[in-house]
């Protein structure tokens, strides 16, 4: 072993207590450095593994593709795998939704359709069904049996008359839990049958495919490639469907990386501050030690190497230990998080993959990354101590007897008390005192800022913000869904299910206080973002909402009479994200389709307002209900907002659900659903944040422990002398406690003071970004009390332990002690 390494190793053993603290700090830093990215990456990997296990594997599909285009697409060099599906018709049934498809074998593979029995339909009369489907039709049949189904084929977008058709069952498909629950089934028929009932030129396919790409391909680039191919074949973008779940599971999403990097940066900063502080504080004590080594002929480089290797020797023990503990903790942590996410098929798959070890949770590169980052953290922490040790002059170091502080006269106190003694000691070493307080406060302030963010995120308030009242019954519309053209808004309002009669029925229910009617009109506007229309809904609100509207105005002015005029509008601030150029006084042109004709109207922006989601939803242009109603002849009622006596009333909810279901195309949202959603999602965030902050706080506490131990250790002789001239044990304990309390109170002052101040802009930012639908500022009282109690308790325990440990050594040994 080289002499430098030998000295470093001997130093590590000699300065045991300091190195144990450094080791704990490195251990905790390693723990965080491994667990944060590991939990992040593994959660995503597991999600992807579940997606890959459960979801179809096609990347995208082109809709409404004719046979000729299918043949040309097949020849495209970027196509890796492709399959076909064609929606032929339906099997009429009142209870269940049974779709009838033709699908080729590759299409079935891409959809992960596996037969439980039999073979795929080849002959014209063959059909593949599921047991659930047969049950819903009340048919008991087995493989090879002949059955008759009421078939409705598609003619364009419409369903034709029912034709009783005879089929022979050639195979069985499995029934998923979701299919059984929702009563949605499918039947697969042969190409021959499809070609028989639909003329060849009218057959339209869904062309399902995968293009050549590896896992490093970015999703946006892949989508651009797919859009590019579509363009070449004259397929419009509206006809492209992306399998986003699959894409995000298998290709790189560049948005993940910066978040993980940011968290790791916070850990590195906390680690560097603590380890640096531990070394810096002990360096003053070791000036002579390094001076002696230099006097014996060590070069500056060698002294630097001694300090560095001592740090790395500690890291060599703490780092593997940190990695081992993190490895053990990782799986239980992931299982804990998944259990918190509630019950779902996805979650079950997640847990199954996790328990069966089907996903590699421990990639080698994560270990390598942790080691490199942890060692870089240690290196950065040691840079200044290394320079300080190497810069010590031999002569100066050998002469060094006592602390250099006090080279100038000091007025001092006329009378001395234990408190003043503590104060003079802290003042005498003010650089160390300030450094300790600052380094601990930085972590403390971070804790308070995160605690503020967590305390502002209240599930109850978020639910209040997301829903105007306690229940919302709104039109169940969907735009551009070829599967459900009946859900297009203009088709729904033609026979609007949100009738006055329904409103009256709701109002009559027990527990309902009142029902507000909101109007929604779908429009086209001249506001665009990246070629797409940015504002496509106009919201009409009743006068009872005006106070809230007025309160939310951040720019401009609006009166109720302005909003009644119909050409003056309040713009939702959310629109500015897409169209930042919009300002008060601008004219916005909207176009409304009425009886096949587009009618234009100019609207003047009289104000910009910042509103909760529950009031405006996705609407960006707001005026009075009366004005919105006058835009179209049809009834444009968009939603009934139900304000109930209780936030949650199971009986009322059931009654409303029944009313919504009986009205058709009416969707219902409840306050309870929103509350549960936020509670669940905030719980996970809270636990992750609290765990992270706890470890970070422990790193910070290492700093306090080091400062106190060091402060007592280097003053062992001084304290012994004070006791020799009459300081009692109680007085010594009191003095140490006061010194500790100084660090604690200084740290708490900065942590609570500056942390609370810094927390407020974070709340404002969250509110502006509508993060967690935060609306009100809540001071993190609990966190502040916990921080104060923990810090004071740690400090008191520490000083008591230190005072006891000092007493273990005899007074005379302490007086004789020299470094």
């Amino acid at each position: 072993m080289k002499m430098v390494t030998k000295v470093a190793y001997a130093n590590m053993k000699y300065h045991k207590s300091k190195n144990i603290l450094t080791g704990i700090a490195i251990f905790l830093t390693t723990l965080l450095l491994f667990l944060v990215p590991a939990v992040g990456f593994d959660s995503v990997e597991l999600q992807f593994a579940v997606t890959n296990k459960l979801y179809p594997t096609w990347q995208a599909l082109y809709r409404n593709v004719d046979t000729d285009t299918v043949n040309r697409l097949r020849a495209h060099h970027d196509m890796e795998t492709y399959g076909l599906r064609s929606d032929v018709g339906k099997i009429a049934n009142e209870e269940a939704e049974i779709s009838m498809y033709y699908m080729d074998e590759t299409g079935m593979e891409l959809y992960r359709i596996e037969l439980t029995e039999g073979h795929v339909p080849k002959e014209k009369s063959e059909i593949m069904v599921s047991k659930g489907m047969l049950d819903s039709l009340g048919i008991h049949a087995g493989l090879g049996d002949t059955v008759r189904f009421p078939v409705q084929k598609y003619v364009g977008n419409q369903l034709d008359y029912i034709q009783e058709t005879e089929f022979q069952i050639c195979g069985f498909l499995p029934d998923s839990e979701a299919a059984l629950e929702n009563q949605t089934y499918m039947a697969l028929i042969s190409r021959e049958y499809m070609e028989e009932i639909i003329p060849g030129e009218e057959i339209r396919y869904r062309f399902l495919f995968r293009v050549s790409a590896d896992e490093r391909t970015e999703i946006d680039k892949l989508k651009d490639q797919i859009k590019g191919i579509a363009g070449k074949f004259g397929i419009s973008e509206a006809e492209i469907g992306f399998n986003d779940d699959y894409l995000y599971a298998n290709y790189t999403d560049p948005a993940q990386l910066p978040i993980i990097c940011l968290i790791m940066l916070v850990i590195i900063v906390a680690g560097v501050i603590t380890i640096y502080s531990i070394y810096y504080i002990s360096m003053t004590q070791r000036i002579q030690e390094f001076g002696r080594i230099k006097a014996m002929g060590a070069t500056r480089k060698q002294v630097r190497q001694i300090v560095l290797r001592e740090g790395f020797c500690v890291a060599l023990i703490a780092l593997p230990l940190g990695l081992a503990v993190s490895t053990v903790l990782l799986k239980p942590l992931l299982l804990y998080f998944v259990n918190m996410a509630g019950k779902s098929a996805f979650r079950q798959g997640y847990e199954e993959i996790l328990r069966n070890g089907e996903c590699n949770l421990y990639p080698w590169w994560l270990y390598l990354l942790t080691c490199v980052v942890a060692l870089v953290t240690v290196y950065l922490s040691l840079l200044h101590p290394m320079q300080k040790a190497a810069g010590i002059s031999e002569v100066e170091a050998m002469r060094y007897q006592e602390k250099q502080s006090g080279s100038r006269e000091r007025k001092g106190y006329q009378d001395l008390t234990v408190g003043r003694l503590a104060k003079t000691n802290l003042y005498g070493d003010r650089k160390k005192s300030v450094l300790t307080i600052l380094t601990m406060s930085i972590t403390g302030m971070f804790v308070m800022v995160v605690a503020t963010a967590l305390s502002c995120a209240s599930p109850s308030e978020s639910a209040d913000s997301d829903l105007y009242g306690q229940y919302e019954l709104s039109l169940d519309t969907e735009s551009g869904n070829q599967e459900h053209p009946e859900k297009e808004w203009d088709r729904v309002i033609a026979n609007n299910p949100l009738t006055a009669e329904l409103k009256a029925q709701i109002e009559r229910l027990d527990g309902v206080e009142r029902v507000e009617t909101f109007t929604n009109v779908m429009v086209e506007s001249d506001l665009q973002y990246q070629g797409e229309i940015a504002a496509n809904q106009v919201l009409g609100l009743p006068e009872s909402c005006f106070e809230e509207l007025k309160k939310g105005i951040v720019e401009g002015k609006a009166s109720w009479s302005d909003l009644l005029e119909g050409d003056k509008v309040i713009v939702n601030k959310a629109l500015l994200y897409w169209c930042p150029e919009v300002k008060v006084g601008d004219q916005i042109q909207i176009r409304i389709e009425e009886e096949g004709q587009m009618v234009s109207r100019d609207l003047e922006v009289i104000a910009i307002g910042d509103y909760r989601f529950g009031l405006t939803g996705f609407c960006d242009l707001i005026f009075s209900k009366e004005a919105a109603d006058s835009l179209l002849r049809q009834d444009c009622t968009g939603s009934f907002q139900v304000l109930a006596e209780k936030k949650y009333d199971a009986k009322l909810e059931k009654e409303l659900q029944e009313l919504a279901a009986s009205s058709g195309l009416v969707a219902m949202q409840t306050w309870k659903e929103k509350y549960d959603f936020w509670k669940n999602s905030m719980n996970i965030t809270q636990i992750v944040c609290i765990a992270f902050l706890c470890i970070l706080s422990m790193i910070c506490i290492m700093n306090l422990i080091n400062t106190m131990i060091h402060s007592v250790h280097i003053r062992k002789k001084e304290l012994g002398m004070m006791q020799a001239i009459g300081m009692t044990d109680a007085q010594m304990a009191k003095m140490l406690r006061m010194e500790g309390l100084f660090y604690t109170s200084g740290t708490l002052l900065l942590t609570i003071g500056a942390g609370s101040i810094l927390g407020y802009p974070v709340f404002l930012w969250m509110k502006a970004q509508h993060l967690y639908s935060v609306t009100h500022y809540h001071y993190p009282t609990e966190a502040a009390v916990i921080v104060v109690v923990v810090m004071v308790a740690v400090q008191l325990l520490l000083t008591t332990a230190l005072a006891r440990s000092v007493k273990k050594e005899s007074l005379i040994d302490r007086i004789r002690f020299s470094e």
Binding site: K403, Q404, D415, L416, I725, M727, I812
Partner: protein
């Protein structure tokens, strides 16, 4: 003259097993009040251990130390500290000043620990007596060895203790300062009527004492 210190059959061991060393071996002696007693002996003879036990800094394995007839080791730790504060002053070879306190604060430290109001004039008189008045605000790092030891003496005298225990107070001083310090201490004993117990290697200093106790292998060989 009355006896102020009475050491009865004192025993002190260090280490254990094969490394067991008997530092003080069944030693008994008396020290008279108001006298300058020098304890001499070779290095490792146990003289410092004996002085530390007389001053109540170290506890014996057996035997008693009576000061003014009171068994000091019968006192609990905090009571012993209070006793030391009032009755005994210490001067050490390496001064043992508190580096973060200035000269004045170092001197009045025992008073502060006792919770007493500082009699400024009295302390200033002692500082003048020791030639320290101009150094009141100076920090220990600014002082020479001799000056530091004078501060240590002032600190030992400030409470007007009955006994001053000095453990080779001149060991770190040059010959000029050495004589000055011993003269000062003798003068204090004479002027303030205190008892000085000093350990020394120096024969010249020992000759200046009223009584010399010779220690060898932890035992009193002679007392003259």
């Amino acid at each position: 003259m009355s006896k102020i210190v009475e050491v009865q059959d004192l025993v002190k061991y260090y280490g254990s097993g094969e490394n067991l060393v008997k530092a003080v071996d069944h030693t008994s002696l008396c020290i008279e009040s108001g006298k300058f007693t020098a304890i001499v002996g070779r290095s490792g003879s146990g003289k410092s251990t004996l002085l530390h036990m007389i001053g109540g800094l170290d506890r014996p394995d057996s035997g008693r130390v009576l000061i003014d007839g009171k068994d000091i080791f019968g006192l609990k730790s905090d009571r012993l500290a209070q006793f030391r504060r009032k009755k005994i002053g210490f001067v050490f070879q390496d001064f043992n000043l508190i580096p973060s306190l200035n000269v004045w604060e170092n001197i009045i430290l025992p008073m502060g620990l006792d919770g007493r109001k500082v009699p400024v004039e009295e302390v200033e008189e002692k500082m003048e007596y020791l030639g320290l008045l101009g150094k009141r605000k100076a920090m220990p790092a600014m002082l020479s060895g001799g000056q530091k030891q004078r501060v240590a003496i002032a600190r030992a005298l400030v409470m007007n203790p009955a006994i001053i225990c000095a453990d080779e107070p001149t060991g770190n001083l040059d010959s000029q300062s050495e004589l000055e310090v011993v003269d000062l201490m003798k003068k204090c004993v004479r002027d303030y009527g205190q008892t000085l117990v000093m350990i020394t290697h120096d024969e010249g200093i020992a000759q200046m004492a009223d009584c010399v106790i010779l220690i060898e292998d932890g035992k009193v060989v002679s007392q003259s």
